[in-house]
């Protein structure tokens, strides 16, 4: 192999690598560095003062940050939990050759593709205390309106997210269901399994690897949600829907404390990193298991 050949892969990789280093990795490093400094937007980072772990520690003692961390965790877990149950349930129900399935799938993608700010706008309108759709329905049914974005803000925000992202789980679960080995299902059916038994003992266990990865992927995404909530509630009332991503942006732009915002970003990043590693390890284990199983089958035959 000559030098030109050996350089080829680097030539292919270089443009992407350079952009990612300049605009992704370097900024991340810059942020970690900045999180140890007392930094406001008027200063260049080199002019700032080193404060050690002060930003991290003060955040840990900051009730508002802890509350927003709690809100984020509640939001993420409730959303993903509900979406998994609904999405998988629907997939199991609709896993048959029905006319109109492809239409449903197409229309189901719409909520995910539309801009989060638009989704927030739609729901803000529907939740509106007087002109909103929901309260009008309730009132015409003779029930008092609900204070959607007031006292029940977090729940309302979760409902909007469920509307937007259940289809994601539904589509992936449906794809997983339709690629299950037909032989196993046939065998169980011949043995006289009821459809419940089929779901509990065959379908769900076989789908589990895909479901876990999908759930983790959704969980990671749920920590990234920002615009929908920003448009719907702006984090309020009080701090009741102020997720960490929103708090970072407010700390940076409103309170002008970039160092603290950087430290906050690092906390968020650590959570996401852990989730990614869990997902990564899990799919690795699955791969190895699948390989072993394939090998065993080969040896036996």
């Amino acid at each position: 192999m000559n030098t030109a050949n050996r350089l080829t892969p680097y030539l292919f990789l270089a443009p992407a690598a350079i952009i990612m280093i300049i605009a992704l990795l370097y900024p991340l490093g810059y942020m970690v560095y900045g999180s140890f400094r007392d930094w406001n937007p008027a200063q260049a980072l080199s002019e700032t003062e080193f404060v050690g772990l002060k930003n991290y520690i003060s955040l840990w003692n900051d009730a508002a940050f802890r509350e927003s961390l709690g809100v984020t965790l509640t939001f993420a877990f409730f959303c993903v939990f509900a979406e998994l149950i609904l999405g998988v349930g629907l997939a199991l129900l609709l896993d048959r050759k029905l006319r109109g399935m492809s239409v449903l799938r197409t229309l189901f993608i719409l909520p995910m593709m539309i801009a989060p700010v638009v989704v927030g706008l739609m729901w803000r309108y529907m939740y509106h205390p007087t002109v909103g759709t929901f309260n009008r329905w309730l009132e015409s049914a003779g029930i008092n309106g609900i204070d959607w974005l007031g006292r029940n803000a977090l729940m309302s925000v979760i409902i909007a997210d469920i509307w937007q992202w259940t289809p994601f789980i539904f589509i992936l679960a449906l794809a997983a269901l339709q690629s299950l080995p037909q032989s196993a299902l046939e065998a169980a059916r011949i043995d006289g399994a009821t459809s419940w038994q089929l779901i509990w003992h065959i379908k769900l266990p076989l789908m589990m690897p895909v479901l876990i990865v999908t759930g983790l992927l959704r969980l990671i995404d749920a920590f990234k949600v920002l615009e929908v909530i920003l448009v719907m509630t702006e984090g309020g009332p009080g701090l009741s829907t102020e997720i960490v991503a929103l708090r970072i942006s407010r700390t940076a732009t409103e309170f002008r404390e970039l160092g603290v915002a950087a430290a906050m970003s690092n906390y968020l990043l650590v959570i996401l990193l852990l989730l990614t590693l869990v997902m990564f390890t899990f799919s690795r284990i699955q791969e190895i298991r699948a390989q072993r199983a394939a090998k065993r089958i080969q040896e036996e035959s």
């Binding site: 080829t8 605009a23 900024p27 260049a44 896993d95 029905l98 109109g100």
Partner: protein
């Protein structure tokens, strides 16, 4: 599983699901054709006199005529629409070309640093835009500036005018750069699985015929992974088109994108529902069109991106 006689209850369920998925969107579409009076008074339902007044208000700065009901063009939607298109299109094309090349290198070559590159791509996929806000804000404003006293900075200043150092902040390129970087990991990841399926024999044959590596890539591999490219393009465009947070930190008055405009007008106390819904509808239309015409590619992309994740 082929059901000859599906339970008749499935069709109502299907209809209910479709209603739930599309209902809010249809509601917004309907409202965008209503006057504010009608929206607030609650003459609800679909019976109303449609008006395009809201769209006229939103688009007033690029209309060729002056709408009667407007004295002053306040909402400059047209300009930000053009900004959004420029930013989304350029960043999508750049991301796809660079991402496809990188994915090709990662799949087809064994080289020093391959595992590091691969792992890094995988890990940075989870970085949320909110985390990039602080560093990007600092870097784009300060560190990534070309001083006005340097010869290159002076040169740029002479061409484009303006004062101070030449910075990325407030330019289209600044926003494009961060979008490309943000989308690259995902595109690389998704395209890898498509490139893996290209038969090596085809590439070998082309090489025997005297094609160089770059020719093989652009003439053989790229055409063969078109479905993957289409899926990746839709996802990249969607993020670049819809993103709000980083754009709001980087854009100035002239480079505002549509989401920024929308958020700025929603957070006011007295929301003009009709106009804002018309703006929202205009922002939603491109993704809706993509979905209706390329839903299969989107589903392919989603499954490829998730299952291999």
């Amino acid at each position: 599983m082929l059901d000859k006689h599906p339970n008749p209850a499935f069709y109502p369920l299907l209809a209910a699901l479709i209603f739930m998925a599309v209902g809010p969107i249809v509601l917004m579409l309907a409202n965008s054709f209503k006057l504010d009076v009608d929206i607030i008074s609650g003459t609800s339902g679909l019976i109303f006199l449609p008006t395009i007044q809201n769209y006229e208000t939103a688009l007033c700065d690029i209309l060729w005529y002056k709408p009667d009901h407007l004295d002053f063009c306040q909402l400059k939607f047209g300009g930000s629409f053009i900004n959004s298109i420029i930013i989304a299109l350029i960043s999508t094309v750049l991301t796809l070309v660079l991402g496809a090349m990188a994915a090709y290198a990662l799949v087809r070559f064994r080289f020093l640093g391959r595992d590091t590159a691969s792992l890094t791509t995988l890990l940075v996929r989870m970085v949320p835009p909110a985390v990039l806000l602080v560093p990007v804000f600092g870097l784009w404003n300060n560190d990534f500036c070309i001083g006005k006293n340097t010869s290159f900075g002076e040169f740029l200043r002479n061409i484009f005018g303006g004062r101070g150092d030449v910075c990325l902040e407030g330019t289209h390129s600044g926003i494009i750069l961060i979008y490309v970087a943000m989308n690259l990991p995902f595109v690389i990841w998704i395209l890898q699985s498509f490139i893996l399926q290209v038969p090596r024999s085809l590439e070998e044959a082309a090489k025997v015929d005297g094609a160089g590596t770059f020719q093989v890539f652009f003439k053989i591999v790229l055409p063969l992974i078109q479905p993957g490219i289409a899926a990746a393009a839709i996802f990249t465009f969607r993020i670049a088109w819809n993103e709000y947070l980083l754009a709001s930190a980087l854009a100035d008055r002239d480079t505002k994108t549509v989401p920024i405009l929308l958020v700025n007008n929603v957070s006011e106390f007295n929301i003009e529902w009709g106009v804002i819904m018309a703006t929202g509808m205009l922002l939603a239309i491109p993704p809706i069109i993509f979905t209706l015409f390329a839903s299969r590619q989107i589903i392919t992309g989603m499954t490829a991106g998730a299952v291999k994740g």
